[in-house]
C-alpha cells in the first residue's frame, strides 16, 4: 500500500515518520483480511448495509410535512470562521 497516496485521497497530511509507522501496520491488517479470499462467494448475495430481511418492517417514508429545524445561528454558530450566516473558508484557488 502506498500510504502517502492513500492519505492524500483521505485528505490527511502525514509525516514521513507516520507513513513509516502506519505502512507496516496497515500491511499486516490487509494481509489478515485477505483470508476472505479463501472463501467461495460466487453464489452469495451481498448483505447491503444494516438493511436486513428483518428491516422490511422498517418504514422509511414519513409524512412530507414542514417542521421546525435548526436556526441559522445554531447551524453556523460553532463554525471555526462564520460570517453573516455563512461558512468562510480559505481561498480555493
Amino acid at each position: 500500500m502506498d500510504v502517502k497516496h492513500v492519505a492524500n485521497l483521505a485528505h490527511i497530511a502525514i509525516t514521513e515518520e507516520e507513513a513509516a509507522l502506519y505502512g507496516p501496520q496497515l500491511a499486516g491488517i490487509v494481509e489478515y483480511v485477505e483470508q476472505l479470499n479463501t472463501l467461495d462467494t460466487t453464489a452469495v448475495e451481498p448483505m447491503l448495509g444494516g438493511l436486513t430481511a428483518e428491516g422490511e418492517s422498517t418504514r422509511t417514508i414519513r409524512a412530507d410535512e414542514p417542521r421546525s429545524s435548526f436556526t441559522v445561528e445554531e447551524a453556523v454558530g460553532q463554525a471555526p470562521d462564520p460570517v453573516a450566516g455563512h461558512f468562510r473558508v480559505p481561498k480555493v484557488l
Binding site: H11, T58, P80, V89
Partner: protein
C-alpha cells in the same frame, strides 16, 4: 430523600472517583440539579424518575459537549437531544455527565481518547475495555445506575465484561441512532450499561422503538422487558459453539464459561451444540466494512462547519489536510486510511464487495443456528482486562479482543454480556448471550436469571455504591 439530594450525591461521587478513573469527560452539575428539581416538582408517573445516567460523549445531549473523545470536536456542544436521550429525560432520568471513550469509538481499551485513558475500577493499572470504557467504569464504580454507550463491534459488551457489569447491544434498528455521531452506520447501535440486567431492561423499555428521525429504526413492537424478567428459563435451549471454547481463550475464561454452562443447566436451561462456521471471519469482514464506512462518515470533519480548524493553511485543500492531521489521533487515522484504501479504485471488489458477501454468510450462520436454540452462549472476550499500554503497538492484537462480539454487529442480532465470575487474579469475566432478531427479552431473561442465582462475588477497588 428528594431527587435533588440524590442527584447531588451522585455528582459528588462522580467528582470523587473521576480523579482515579477519568470516566467522565464532563460532570454537568448545574444542568443535572436543575433537571432533578423539575423531576422532583413533577407529579406525573415516570418509569425512570430520578434515575441518574451517564451518556457516552458521542451521543448528543442538548447544551452539553459532544467531543467523541477527539481533539477535532474538543470545543463542540450539541444543540439537540439524541432520541434515546430525549426519551430518557421524558421518563424522568437525569443526565449527570458525558463519559470518556476511545476517539470516535475506535478502540477496545479507551486508550485512544484524546482526553486520557480510563482506568478499570477493579484494577487501576488495567484498561476498562472500549470503546465505551467511561460509561462502563461509571456504572461499575457505582456512580450511576445506568449509562448509554455505543456499539460498532463490541464496544458495550467488551467493557461490560472487563468491568463486571451488564451491557446490551440491541438488534440493529431497535434503538434510534438519531443523535449518535456516526462511525460505521450499518453496524452502529446505541447500547446500555446497567448494574444488572434489570436496570438494562428498564432503560431499554424506555428508549426502544421506531423513530421517524432514523429511517433504519424498526417499526417492531416493544415488549414490556421488565415483565419478561420472570426468572424462569426452564427448557430454554442455549446454543454452545464448541469451536469457540478452545484455543485463544484464557484458561480462567474457559473454566468460567464451562461453569456457566453447568450453572444454566441447574436453572433448567438445555445446552445444545451448534456451529457458526463463518464467525471466525468476523474480524476480517469487520475491519473492511467498519473502516470503509468510517472513512466516508468522518469526511465531514474538515474544519469548515464545526470543530477544530488548523491555523495558517495556504488554501482550502491544505486546510483540510492540516485540520485532519492535527485533529485526529493515530487510531482514527489508521482506520480512515484503511477504509480509504479498501474503497479506492481497483480494490473495491476485492475487499468491500467480498466483505459484504461474507457478511451475508455470517448472518446466515445465525439464522440457521436459531432454528435449534433460543440463545447462543460464548465468552464476551477471550481475556480479562489487559494492562494499560500492553497492546498499543499491535493494532491487530487489539482488534482480536473483539473476536466474539463483532459477528453480532455484522448479523444485526442482539447480545448481552453479564458477569460469569472472577479470574484467579480477581478480575471480572463476562458471559455473552446472543439472541435472535428482536429477541432482547429472551437474552435479558436468561442474563437476569443467571446473575440472580450466581451473583458476582467481590467488588471493584474503586466503588462508591
Amino acid at each position: 430523600m428528594s431527587i435533588v439530594n440524590e442527584i447531588e450525591r451522585v455528582l459528588d461521587n462522580a467528582e470523587r472517583v473521576n480523579g482515579d478513573l477519568n470516566s467522565f469527560l464532563s460532570i454537568e452539575r448545574n444542568t443535572a440539579l436543575a433537571r432533578a428539581a423539575e423531576v422532583d416538582a413533577s407529579s406525573g408517573e415516570m418509569p425512570l424518575k430520578g434515575f441518574a445516567v451517564g451518556i457516552k460523549d458521542n451521543i448528543c445531549v442538548k447544551g452539553m459537549q459532544a467531543t467523541c473523545g477527539s481533539r477535532i470536536l474538543a470545543n463542540y456542544k450539541a444543540h439537540y437531544d439524541a432520541t434515546a436521550v430525549e426519551r430518557l429525560k421524558a421518563a424522568g432520568a437525569v443526565v449527570v455527565g458525558k463519559t470518556n471513550m476511545d476517539e470516535f469509538a475506535m478502540g477496545s481499551s479507551n486508550e485512544s481518547s484524546a482526553f486520557g485513558s480510563v482506568k478499570n475500577p477493579w484494577d487501576k493499572e488495567r484498561v476498562p475495555g472500549g470503546s465505551s470504557g467511561g460509561s462502563a467504569a461509571a456504572v461499575a464504580s457505582g456512580v450511576v445506575r445506568a449509562a448509554l454507550g455505543s456499539e460498532t463491534g463490541g464496544s458495550v459488551r467488551q467493557p461490560a465484561s472487563f468491568c463486571g457489569i451488564a451491557g446490551l447491544k440491541p438488534t440493529y434498528g431497535r434503538i434510534s441512532r438519531y443523535g449518535l455521531v456516526a462511525f460505521a452506520s450499518s453496524l452502529d447501535n446505541i447500547g446500555i450499561f446497567g448494574q444488572n440486567a434489570r436496570d438494562v431492561a428498564d432503560v431499554l423499555g424506555v428508549i426502544a422503538g421506531r423513530d421517524p428521525m432514523d429511517s433504519t429504526s424498526a417499526d417492531v413492537e416493544v415488549p414490556d422487558y421488565a415483565a419478561e424478567l420472570t426468572g424462569d428459563i426452564n427448557g430454554m435451549r442455549i446454543g454452545i459453539v464448541r469451536d469457540l471454547i478452545g484455543e485463544g481463550l484464557d484458561a480462567d475464561v474457559r473454566d468460567s464459561i464451562e461453569k456457566a454452562i453447568d450453572n444454566l443447566k441447574k436453572l433448567g436451561a438445555v445446552p445444545v451444540d451448534i456451529t457458526l462456521p463463518y464467525a471466525k471471519y468476523g474480524i476480517a469482514v469487520y475491519y473492511i466494512i467498519a473502516t470503509a464506512e468510517a472513512s466516508s462518515n468522518l469526511a465531514r470533519f474538515d474544519g469548515v462547519r464545526y470543530g477544530f480548524r488548523a491555523e495558517e493553511a495556504a488554501g482550502l485543500r491544505e486546510m483540510y489536510m492540516k485540520t485532519r492531521e492535527e485533529g485526529f489521533g493515530a487510531e482514527v487515522k489508521r482506520r480512515i486510511l484503511l477504509g480509504t484504501y479498501v474503497l479506492s479504485s481497483g480494490y473495491y471488489d476485492a475487499y468491500y464487495a467480498k466483505a459484504q458477501k461474507v457478511r451475508a454468510m455470517i448472518k446466515q450462520d445465525y439464522v440457521e443456528a436459531f432454528k435449534s436454540c433460543d440463545a447462543i452462549l460464548t465468552a464476551t472476550s477471550p481475556t480479562t482486562a489487559f494492562k494499560i499500554g500492553e497492546r498499543l503497538d499491535d493494532p491487530l492484537a487489539m482488534y482480536l479482543s473483539d473476536i466474539f462480539t463483532v459477528s453480532a454487529n455484522l448479523a444485526g442480532v442482539p447480545a448481552v454480556s453479564v458477569p460469569s465470575g472472577l479470574s484467579s487474579d480477581g478480575l471480572p469475566i463476562g458471559l455473552q448471550l446472543v439472541g435472535n432478531f428482536w429477541g432482547e427479552a429472551e437474552i435479558l431473561r436468561i442474563a437476569s436469571a443467571y446473575e440472580t442465582a450466581f451473583p458476582l462475588v467481590g467488588k471493584p477497588t474503586v466503588f462508591v455504591g
